[in-house]
């Protein structure tokens, strides 16, 4: 039995070591306190709305959000009319019509948020050959997740003297390789928040990353709520099974 426990402990230690990959020369990522972290995690709707504003006014110029539809935006705490109004600002390509021509029309709730570029090649042509990734899943597609994204956005500094930065690139200690094609995307007050929150770089980064976590995992709240109910149910059920097992086995010597 002791052997089994030691073996399990060894497994747990190695397993914990498995969780983090080796990284090379990248800054230590600071852990943030996100409201969506932990067993009882929830999205902060005010932060989501501010984050959406930052995305819309700053990031959407280069980055698409192809897995979010306008109807999803009601989850941010906006009502249907507000979202319809937002959708109506966008033109969506539709068609072909009866003459075989494509045409544009205002977006409706059912439409996906349009990307800033028609395709990847157009995106590269507008960005010195670099492709700004779609942001729908970015919070799950990078090791370190939201903490990494926040560190990246707030981490732009001047390059150290001994590091040569290539043409058109910027130095960022958190980006793998330390050279990123995206210049610092936000300055203080780049956006005027409707709720009056001061729009510092840090605040805007926290808000937009909060929004991007929602965009990547909109079912997060439902998932954790259901998880609590399921685990409580299973704890009771397992206890009942254990008691039944003991009762059945009490009939014999063992």
């Amino acid at each position: 039995m002791m052997r089994a426990v030691m073996g399990a402990a060894a497994a747990a230690i190695v397993f914990a070591g498995l969780a983090g990959p080796a990284s090379a020369a990248v800054g230590e990522i600071e852990k943030q306190n996100w409201s969506f972290d932990g067993v009882f995690g929830k999205f902060d709707k005010a932060a989501l709305q501010r984050g959406f504003q930052v995305y819309k006014e700053v990031c959407a110029g280069c980055h698409g959000l192809e897995y979010i539809a306008f109807r999803n935006l009601t989850e941010l705490g906006l009502n249907e009319d507000q979202v319809k109004a937002i959708a109506a600002e966008y033109e969506i390509e539709d068609g072909p019509d009866d003459e075989g021509e494509m045409f544009t029309r205002p977006a409706i709730l059912a439409d996906i948020l349009p990307s800033p570029f028609a395709n990847d090649n157009a995106a590269r042509a507008s960005n010195n050959g670099a492709l700004p990734p779609d942001l729908s899943l970015i919070a799950k597609a990078r090791t370190g997740g939201p903490d990494y994204l926040h560190a990246l956005l707030t981490g732009y500094v001047d390059a150290p003297a001994d590091v040569k930065i290539n043409e058109g690139m910027s130095y960022n200690p958190y980006f793998p390789g330390n050279q990123i094609a995206m210049p610092p995307p936000i300055d203080d007050d780049a956006v005027e928040y409707t709720d009056g929150t001061p729009a510092t770089v840090d605040q805007m980064s926290l808000d937009v990353v909060h929004f991007l976590m929602w965009a990547a995992e909109p079912k997060l709240e439902i998932r954790k709520r259901m998880g609590i109910k399921v685990i409580l149910f299973l704890l009771v059920l397992t206890a009942l099974f254990y008691a039944s097992k003991r009762k059945v086995w009490s009939r014999i010597d063992h």
Binding site: R3, G7, V14, L137, M226, I231, Y242, S244, I252
Partner: protein, 418 residues
Amino acid sequence: MEKFMQNPIVRWVEYRLPVFAFMNHQLVDYPTPRNLNYWWNFGSLAGIALVIQIVTGIVLAFHYTPQADLAFASVEHIMRNVNYGWLLRYVHSNGASMFFIVVFIHLFRGMYYGSYKAPREILWWLGLVILLMMMATAFMGYVLPWGQMSYWGATVITNMFTAFPLVGDWLTTLLWGGFVVGNPTLNRFFSLHYLLPFMIVGVVVVHLWALHVHKSNNPLGIDMKGPQDSLPFHPYYTIKDMYGLGIFLLVFAYLVFFAPNMLGEADNYIPANPLVTPPHIVPEWYFLPFYSILRAIPDKLLGVIGMFGATMILFALPWLDTSKVRSAKFRPIFKQFFWLFVLDVLVLGWVGKNPPEGMFIIIGRVASVYYFAHFLVILPLLGKFEKTCPLPESIGTPVLGGGGEMPSGAAAAKREKS
């Protein structure tokens, strides 16, 4: 039970196909050693994990599109639009991990207690065949979301087939359906991923048939000699298996609801790009020890042979282990080497996770050599030279004293002091 069997409808069916007597014989009255510990729960858990994967898999297939331009988006469609789609997807992806956790423990149980020894060699082989089929199924399943890791993991592993002399390139092109991994590969992997689990069910049936011939091994490693050594499977082990299932589901639920992406790779949330290779290509955790062995051997063909050899050597285990004593309980030296072996496998897994640089290369090679040494050197020698402990008279003796009593009825047998 007797009133049930007298029912006219039951008798009509039973006369034509004796299903009820069969079920009773195999699942109710079936004699099981009375001294099984909780390490024996993992066989039934593996069966349940298989059912969970098949059910969630079929339902996911209602919504998934196996085409290179559409697959990634169809998985996001499942996650965002399909009712409970996120739940089905996370159960299926974490269910694969749970399936392997349970099967590896089940396998290690077999190694510790000598369950592979005569007369259970074929039972052991069938288990290994199931493991191989699981590995093929899981590999193909991981390709289906068509993320970066899906694509590049498929590329690296299918490229292994070019190692075969003469036919290597032809075989790999046949497998791919093209000149690289692409849409034809994805389509056929989807078809085979759907097919293989049902073939696994077939092998599981034969595995259970083989089991029922000589019945279960037990922690003492000595045969059941009579009814005093056994208990009917129902209710003793049915209820014990349900309790084990509760624990299994608790661990599973924690993963699904609170850490659904912990065992996965962030890179697989990036759509596959044939022109960009991820900096670290890592297979799913359950392949890491084998991946380590593959990378430890510098030659391409020998590396492939080494990787397959690591699984195939298990087939020879009944003959490599020459000891007459089954269970590690009575083999004090073997016991220590067993746990060293477990540690070695964990080390191989840890090495596989990391890039093949620096100290990882040396550790990986030492651990790979030790893996094979355990089977080819240590076990054969132990069988010859180990001084084993004396075996007890029977399974019933430690519990019931001399003789023992039948367990049916509520008799709380008093222990007879000899």
